[in-house]
């Protein structure tokens, strides 16, 4: 899955190593969530960094999982104090450091 950075003028850029790490850690947290595990064959289909949003703010990293025959799941990951998945809102906090 390619991680894309969407810059504030709408163009795309390469992600940083920090962004790659955030995506990988967020994926691990999401995949460990029982709500996610109840989905049938989810596949990560989109990963986009919203460059204008702070890396510690909800909405920073957009992740989309396609689920055949069901509603695709959209989640957003950001850096924070502790690992946490808020499934209802789709916010994933990844512990910094």
């Amino acid at each position: 899955m390619n991680l894309t950075v969407i810059t504030t003028d709408g163009s795309t850029a390469a992600p940083s190593a920090q962004d790659q790490t955030l995506m990988q850690k967020a994926q691990r947290l999401i995949e460990a969530d029982p709500h996610f595990q109840a989905l049938k064959s989810p596949v990560l289909s989109r990963a986009e960094v919203n460059a204008g949003v702070a890396a510690t703010a909800p909405g920073y990293l957009y992740l989309r999982y396609d689920v055949p025959g069901a509603v695709p799941q959209e989640l957003w990951a950001h850096w924070g104090k502790a690992d946490h998945v808020a499934w209802k809102s789709g916010q994933v906090t990844v512990q910094q450091g």
Binding site: T8, D9, G52, V53, V71, P72
Partner: protein, 266 residues
């Protein structure tokens, strides 16, 4: 705008003399006019450079189920604020704008920033309420099988004011469809009878017939036809190879793909 309101309140507390009240009135008019100027950039149609539109799903078996939109999550506030910044909307009154989905949720639109733009509730004659009418109409047409969901998605992503005329009827207030010029954020207006819509319509531009593919190999909603490495174009419907094709380029119509030298599957 919120901070302006707070300034008014603070000033009001300290205005004890007629002279100060006069000064306050002057400042209020000054601040009010600056807010008006700040909101005089209502984007009627999105800037396709910032917000080309983005599809979450085109599966009518998913979208057309009552209550579908409630199963899609809400856009985080920090992301909404980013959209306002990108469109240079620095001040706004409560309830003045919404961050709208270009391809609405009820038409399978996504919550990606590519699918979001600020839309005024108050601009005249075209505003978020008018677009809502189109969204409902396209949903009904697509879910009743009169048009495909992809057609509905492409129509609303290409230019919702044009789609309104095609699928609903004449625009309110005698307005003409708005033509978007990429990169001209905040410079778009409809013509119509209202004084707030007096800015002339910009020259007509044709919709682009091709678009670069998304990073994941899919195509944007404005150009859904995928072209494979082998130079074969695949349509989103009735083509079993479409889903697994990693697009090298994307086109809006089969004719545009053929004109660019690509062929249909044999």
């Amino acid at each position: 705008m919120l901070s302006t309101v707070h300034h008014h309140q603070d000033l009001n507390v300290h205005c004890q003399t007629d002279g100060m009240r006069t000064l306050f009135t002057f400042l209020s008019l000054l601040l009010g006019s600056s807010v008006l100027a700040a909101t005089n950039h209502d984007p009627v149609v999105p800037d396709s450079r910032l917000s080309p539109g983005d599809v979450l799903t085109s599966d009518t078996a998913v979208i057309c189920v009552p209550g579908y939109t409630k199963t899609v999550r809400n856009v985080p506030q920090a992301l909404k604020e980013q959209v306002y910044r990108e469109y240079n909307i620095t001040g706004r009154a409560p309830g003045e704008y919404e961050i709208d989905h270009i391809i609405s949720l009820e038409l399978g639109g996504s919550n990606s920033i590519r699918n979001l733009f600020p839309e005024s509730y108050k601009s005249q004659p075209l505003n978020a309420h008018v677009k809502d009418t189109l969204e409902n109409k396209l949903h009904d047409l697509a879910c009743s099988g009169k048009i495909t969901m992809q057609e509905a998605q492409q129509a609303i992503a290409s230019n919702w004011t044009t789609a309104y005329v095609k699928y609903v009827g004449p625009l309110p207030g005698g307005a003409q469809p708005v033509q978007e010029v990429a990169g001209s954020t905040g410079q778009k207006r409809a013509s119509g009878s209202s004084a707030t819509a007096a800015v002339p319509v910009l020259p007509t531009t044709t919709s682009p017939s091709s678009a670069p593919p998304n990073a994941d190999g899919s195509c944007p909603a404005t150009a859904l036809i995928k072209v494979s490495k082998a130079g074969i174009y695949h349509l989103p419907q009735g083509d079993g190879s479409y889903a697994r094709t990693h697009a090298q380029s994307c086109f809006a119509t089969p004719g545009a793909a053929r004109a660019a030298g690509y062929r249909a599957p044999r």
